[in-house]
Amino acid sequence: MKITTLLASSVLALSLAWQAQAANVPEGVTLAQNQTYTFWLLDAIKSMDPQLNTDVEGSDVLRNLFEGLYNEDSKGGLVPGVALSHDVSEDGKTYTFQLRDDAKWSNGEPVTANDFVYAWRRLADPKTASEYAWYIELMQVENAADVIAGKMAPDQLGVTALDDHTLEVKIAAPMPYFPQMLVHTSTFPVPQKVIEANGDNWTRAGTLVGNGAYTLTEHTLGERVVMTKNDTYWDAEHTVLDTLIALTINDVNQGLTRYMAGELDRVDMPAGQYPRMEKEYPDQAISVPYNCSYIYMLNVGPKGPEALKDARVRKALSYAIDRDVIVDRILQGGQHAAYNWTHWATAGFEIPDIEYADWTQAERVEKAKELLAEAGYGPDHPLTLRLQYNTSEDHKKIAIAASQMLKQIGVTLTLDNYEWKVHTDRMQNQDFDMARYAWCGDYNEASTYLDLMASYSGHNNGQFYNDAYDAVIKQSKTAEDPLPLYQEAELILADQMPIIPIYHYAKVFMLKEDIKGWPVDNLNQSWYGKDLYRVAE
């Protein structure tokens, strides 16, 4: 995100401090009698503990049960949560947050700065063994890495309660998008006394104490989660929906059937259904950009095939894939063909001029053939590669399409389908040639994508190690305007092609037309029950 926008959002946070930003019901709208919102979950919620949760779906539930320093508004901008505003020190390394004094836990106790200190230490503490501990390291909170590694005590973490309503955070290096990272559920406060009294069981319905707009009333694992309005929430007055129900339905087609039967207010749409549903139910079928990017990762490391060490071959593979066919014929849900890594709609990001993006597909195929011949592959020396993907009908369809497309430049793809854990394990051990991969941004800023391809990221499974790329990324961390650097990084990726971008995601779903307030413009699709309401028909 550009520094100017960032400053604007901080100012926004300040200026909105005294405004209520819950359900924004326009004048003259009649609310429905029934204010229950029922939504779909693909799977059982793994944990209701903010520091242990790892799932997007878990986060959807947690944003209603807890509240962090900031919330997202309908466009993904920051609005006050427990924090009213913050100040940044001159050197950009100390943030001081002013917390509201009317925030309460659902047991009536006040929410204080100490609750955040406790939660953040807990996230980093090796004893918690959180799978998301790395997030606080990513936030660059002082000493985070050492605390996680057990080299320092958790109380050495750079977070301090100056008083009940003032929280100070020290970060290791200035990071303009730090406040954006605070909407992540792993940074949410948790009630120390309740956790100490109940241990791992503190997240049960009836025991769980939160500071969000809703409280947990029922949780049958793999069946349903029921949340009811929390009267102690500081903005309960403006919260309209009184009950949120999440139903677990493991099959998306079944989910859609039950939506059609009126059992759900919102459901994700199975691939390929959007055109039909959009035609039949234009008021309910929605497709909006979503913060994830789909690629084929190429193994350019020592364990990878010889051919992929040659950038010409990698480019040829990328050029030969016709993204338009994949998005228009297979996915059909408003996804965008991708020729770069960072999602096109990311805040403050603009895709640079990537040459091959503007060519026609015929030109690309022509160029691909040339490059392949230059690299020494052809009818006499055919190229065969393996493409692995994790079990899913959509991945399979795309992989089959890709193998057909590569056939026209004389490359044979062997398709390998693995279940998710095996797929991931093979990727992390570099046992692959080409692998299907997708990344969803942790926050709405280009670094969440671009960091991943740095040699030191630890997630760069294709082992693309490029000094120029690393230098650009490092420089972007402290740059006043990182956009040109981000664009440079994208150009390096386009030139070296360690990954083949395929498409940028769209969130495609059905939403009942009487539910209002859905944040369609929020790239992360983070929603808060307190912002929604149901109008009378």
């Binding site: 390291e137 996680i148 694992l221 493991n250 079944q254 854990k421 991931t424």
Partner: protein
Amino acid sequence: MFSYILKRLAIAVPTLLVLIVISFVLMHSAPGGPFTAERKLPPEVLANLNAKYGLDDPLWKQIGTYVWGIVSDFDFGPSFIYKDRTVNEIIAQGFPITLTYGLLSFVVAVVVGVSLGVAAAVRHNTLLDYIAVGVSIGAQVLPNFVMAPVLVLVFTLWLGWLPGGGWQGPEYWIMPVIALSTSFMASIARITRSSMLEVLTSNHIRTARAKGLPERRVILRHALKPALLPVISYLGPAFVAMITGSVVVDIYFSTGGIGKAFVDSALNRDYAVMMGVTILVGALTIFFNLVVDILYGWIDPKIRY
């Protein structure tokens, strides 16, 4: 008889142990682990997690600790994936659900299956026979992953009679029971029919008829009992299969049952849950095989223990 049961129970213990060891080793040899995630965990975090769940111990020690936990405290350990649940709790929540629709399916399958089979055999080569055979073959070849969505389509979406899924009361039981019982019912009907046909031509039935017994009494008193022998040997494993649930039923009807939990645990590498359910299914299988053998002795006087 009593010593026979004791002996069988004594053999059950080493059988279960072998089951535990084999499952444990197989499970740990599958690629990936419970904490394999899209974003590879930093080594120190992974080390913390492994230490917390005892995964850094050698395999033999893990098995030992695990078995000891079960023997001493009946504790199957914490779930690696569902952080606020123990395996005992996951089973305690899911198993009653599975047991409910499993038992009902069993009753439906046996009552309908045996009646259909008997009716078809008694009215051999009549329209009733053809209908019964047709129904049971149809039910057999229609897999429940096809039937479940069709049921929801018809009863939920078109007719609006039944809720499409969930587990909130008796009206939620109907479709799972239909989906689960159908193919078992079909098998039972076919086994009953062929076995009944065989029995009806045997000497003791001819004798019974010759003595002038009413046909009803011949069938129910003299033919049915021996005809059920092959059915009963089928029912033991079928019963266990039904009460330990079906992943298809759990997925399509969102019941929250144990069948889905079992498959998920394998995919998630949730070692503890997987072991817990494996042991549950193993113990039930051993137990009901024993029950079947005892029933055999009761039905067939030729069998003595």
